[in-house]
Every structure is written in structure tokens, then in C-alpha cells.
């Protein structure tokens, strides 16, 4: 499988909601449509909530992987349509 190109990395270790959601939302919105963001979170609630919330905002969740003990990586593609 081809490795997903990552346009921006965001490490949110040590953060819980609502910060994980706000910061990842701001980061994905700063990208161009189609660009890809990879977010690292260090708790399972954020690993569950961030993809669900971003997907609710209209972005495409590519994958959610458990990177390490207590660490998850979420890959999201900006899904906003070009105006």
C-alpha cells in the first residue's frame, strides 16, 4: 500500500477535549481542500471523538491507528469543496 502523503503534522499529546477538537479543526481548516493532516493524541476518548467530530465537519477520515501504548494517529483529508 502506498504511504499516505502528510501535508501537516499536529501533536496534541497532553491535550484533552475541547482543545483536541478545536486545535485539530483549526489545523485542518488551514489546509487546502484535499490536503492531509496527521494528528497525534494520547488518550482514547480523543482518538474516538476527534475523527467523529472532524467527519461531522465534512472532512474525510482516512485512518485511525494506534501508534503506541496510549497514543493514536488520526489521518484526515480536508474535505471542503473549492469555492
Amino acid at each position: 500500500m502506498a504511504e499516505q502523503t502528510i501535508d501537516k503534522e499536529l501533536d496534541l499529546s497532553g491535550e484533552v477535549c475541547p482543545y483536541t477538537f478545536i486545535k485539530s479543526k483549526m489545523a485542518i481548516e488551514a489546509l487546502q481542500p484535499g490536503q492531509v493532516l496527521r494528528v497525534t493524541v494520547d488518550n482514547s476518548e480523543s482518538a474516538g471523538n476527534v475523527p467523529r467530530s472532524l467527519s461531522g465537519e465534512g472532512h474525510e477520515v482516512v485512518s485511525v491507528d494506534k501508534a503506541d501504548k496510549g497514543r493514536w494517529r488520526i489521518v484526515v483529508r480536508n474535505g471542503s469543496t473549492v469555492e
Partner: protein, 342 residues
């Protein structure tokens, strides 16, 4: 009798803690998402818990097994306590139950928030803020002289009419039906980490029903609560007063290892330390939660699940105020976080 209380409390607590952890059941996130997000999984878990408990409590009441003590409608205590509690929840990074299960998996920010919560609670129940609570609790509303419950509302419109169980089932049935219709419209979720919303809702819902039943065995007319047993255990540990130790205390003692084991099995157990700034914020949030929950006479569990399931107007009022507090603080956090960093 004590043995039944201890064993059933510890077992229910363990199952409850496990479910909260695996389900990521955070009522702070649920309350926030109502206004700020388009995704409502945790709200669904909460509503499912209510859809199980509203009829279950009524059934236990009709069977004469439980005599639910409905929280009184203390207007100002509920409003101010709920608001302060909601503001604190956002700063603490989670609701009271959330803070317990997160602390149990090594999140030091939540442990710090929990410490603040205990201290804030003691200030209100036994400390310097005790008179404030007494003063706020003075204004208490009733429904036509009866217990302030949604079930008694018809008495306002028709003096002297107090509905029997037939009418109560009608009210409960309409509410449950509304919830079920909302839940059936849930979108399919992808990328679920841990339990799905309905698994979490069913298990937490059943634990909440068990809480009513086992509490009634020791003549405690309430279901799940976190604030009361936190105060009771703190009182016992800190000043050797064992007065308030009951089923809920055993539940709370079971919840911590349950949450720990769930996190361990899911590979989510590790010591995590946020920034110093965030830790201070968690501490302040915890203290606000302790003040608020004890002024309001309950938290997201005691009011938000148990009280709302009895259709107590006091609990519904305090929960609404809590949601208001969460929205206010979230709006503030959005504003400050969204500012460009200079």
C-alpha cells in the same frame, strides 16, 4: 446486609468503571457537542441510559421496591451550582465520572482536577462556603404543593389532580418514544475506538438500574451518584467521619479498578502529563466543579442520569444549568484558542 451492599457495590462499580472507560463516556463532551458539533455519539449514549432508566425507575417504584427521592427544585442553588459546575467541567477537561476514569488510567491532569474537586466539595459541605449553600437552598419550588416532578405537572393545570401510575406511564412512554426515534436515526459510525455509543449506553444504563435496586436494600432512596460518595470517602479519609459511607461509596471504590483494568486491556494505560499551564487550569476547573456540584446537590451523574430519570424538575433544572455553563466556557475557550498566537 452489609456484605450484599459491599459486594454488589464493588461489582457494579467495576462494571460501570469498565464501561465508562471503554465507551469514553464523557458527559462534558456530550453537553458541548449539542451546541458546538455536528456529531452526537455521546449524547446518544446518555439518552439511551435515560431511555432505560426512566421506565425502569417507574417500574421499581410501582412494584414498591424503590421509593425514589426526587431532588427538590432549589431554583438558585440549581442554577448557580449548575452553571459553576459546567464552567469547571470544561477547564477540568471532563465531567466528574470522566475525571475519575481518566485519573484511573494515568492522566495526571484529571488526577489534579479530582484533587481540586474533593477540596472544593469540602469547602461547600463542611467549610467556609457552607452558609452560601444554605442561603441558596432556601428558595425551593414545589408543584402545587407536591414534589417537583414532571409527573406532577398536571396538578398545576387542574387543582388536586395527581396522576396515578397510568398517567405516569403515559408521560414516561412519550419521552422514551421520542428518545428511541432520535436514536434510530443515528448515522453509522466508522473508526470507533472502544465501545460503540449503544454498547456503552446499555451497560451504563443497566448499572444505573442496579444502583437503584441495591441502594433500596439499605434504605437509600437514590440511584447512581458520584458527589455524595466522594464527600463521604473524603470525610472518612481526612477527618474520620464514616457517616455517609453507603452503597454509592462501594460503587465508587469499584469504579476505579474497573476503569484501570479497561484501560490496561485496551493499551491505554500510561502516565500522561499536560503542560504546567494546563495542570493549573485543571486544578481550578476541579475546584469550580467541587463548588458547583455541591451547591447544585449533584453532578452529571446524580442529577444528569439518576435525577433526570426520576423526572425531578430540580435535576432537570440543574442539568440544564450545567449544560449552559459548559456552553459558556466552551465559547470562551474557542475564542481564546482561535486567536492567532503571537
Amino acid at each position: 446486609m452489609l456484605l450484599i451492599s459491599v459486594v454488589s457495590g464493588l461489582v457494579s462499580g467495576f462494571v460501570g468503571g469498565y464501561a465508562l472507560q471503554r465507551g469514553g463516556f464523557c458527559m462534558h463532551s456530550a453537553f458541548r457537542s449539542i451546541a458546538f458539533e455536528k456529531e452526537h455519539s455521546i449524547v446518544r449514549s446518555w439518552l439511551l441510559v435515560l431511555a432505560i432508566n426512566i421506565p425502569a425507575v417507574l417500574l421499581l417504584e410501582q412494584a414498591g421496591l424503590v421509593f425514589p427521592a426526587r431532588a427538590p427544585l432549589t431554583v438558585f442553588a440549581g442554577l448557580i451550582g449548575g452553571l459553576v459546575f459546567g464552567l469547571g467541567m470544561v477547564l477540568a477537561g471532563g465531567c466528574v465520572s470522566g475525571t475519575y476514569y481518566r485519573a484511573s488510567k494515568g492522566m495526571t491532569g484529571s488526577l489534579v482536577a479530582l484533587t481540586g474537586f474533593v477540596a472544593g466539595g469540602l469547602m461547600v459541605t463542611r467549610g467556609v462556603l457552607q452558609p452560601v449553600r444554605g442561603w441558596l437552598m432556601r428558595t425551593e419550588l414545589s408543584v402545587a404543593g407536591e414534589e417537583a416532578s414532571l409527573y406532577n405537572l398536571p396538578a398545576v393545570f387542574s387543582t388536586g389532580f395527581f396522576p396515578g401510575f397510568g398517567f405516569r406511564w403515559l408521560i414516561a412512554g412519550v419521552l422514551v418514544l421520542a428518545i428511541v426515534i432520535f436514536l434510530l436515526r443515528a448515522p453509522k459510525s466508522r473508526f470507533t475506538v472502544g465501545w460503540s455509543w449503544w454498547q456503552t449506553g446499555v451497560v451504563v444504563g443497566l448499572v444505573a438500574v442496579a444502583a437503584w435496586y441495591f441502594s433500596a436494600l439499605e434504605y437509600r432512596d437514590y440511584g447512581l451518584s458520584i458527589v455524595q460518595p466522594t464527600n463521604a470517602l473524603a470525610g472518612w479519609l481526612l477527618v474520620r467521619e464514616s457517616g455517609g459511607i453507603n452503597w454509592a461509596s462501594w460503587f465508587l471504590l469499584g469504579l476505579i479498578p474497573g476503569a484501570f483494568v479497561a484501560a490496561w486491556r485496551a493499551g491505554d494505560l500510561s502516565l500522561r502529563v499536560p503542560s504546567a499551564r494546563r495542570l493549573m487550569q485543571n486544578l481550578g476547573g476541579g475546584v469550580l466543579m467541587g463548588w458547583g456540584a455541591n451547591l447544585a446537590g449533584g453532578c452529571n451523574i446524580g442529577h444528569g442520569i439518576t435525577g433526570v430519570s426520576t423526572l425531578s424538575l430540580g435535576s432537570i433544572w440543574a442539568t440544564a444549568a450545567t449544560i449552559g455553563g459548559v456552553w459558556l466556557m466552551t465559547a470562551l475557550v474557542y475564542r481564546t484558542t482561535a486567536q492567532p498566537q503571537t
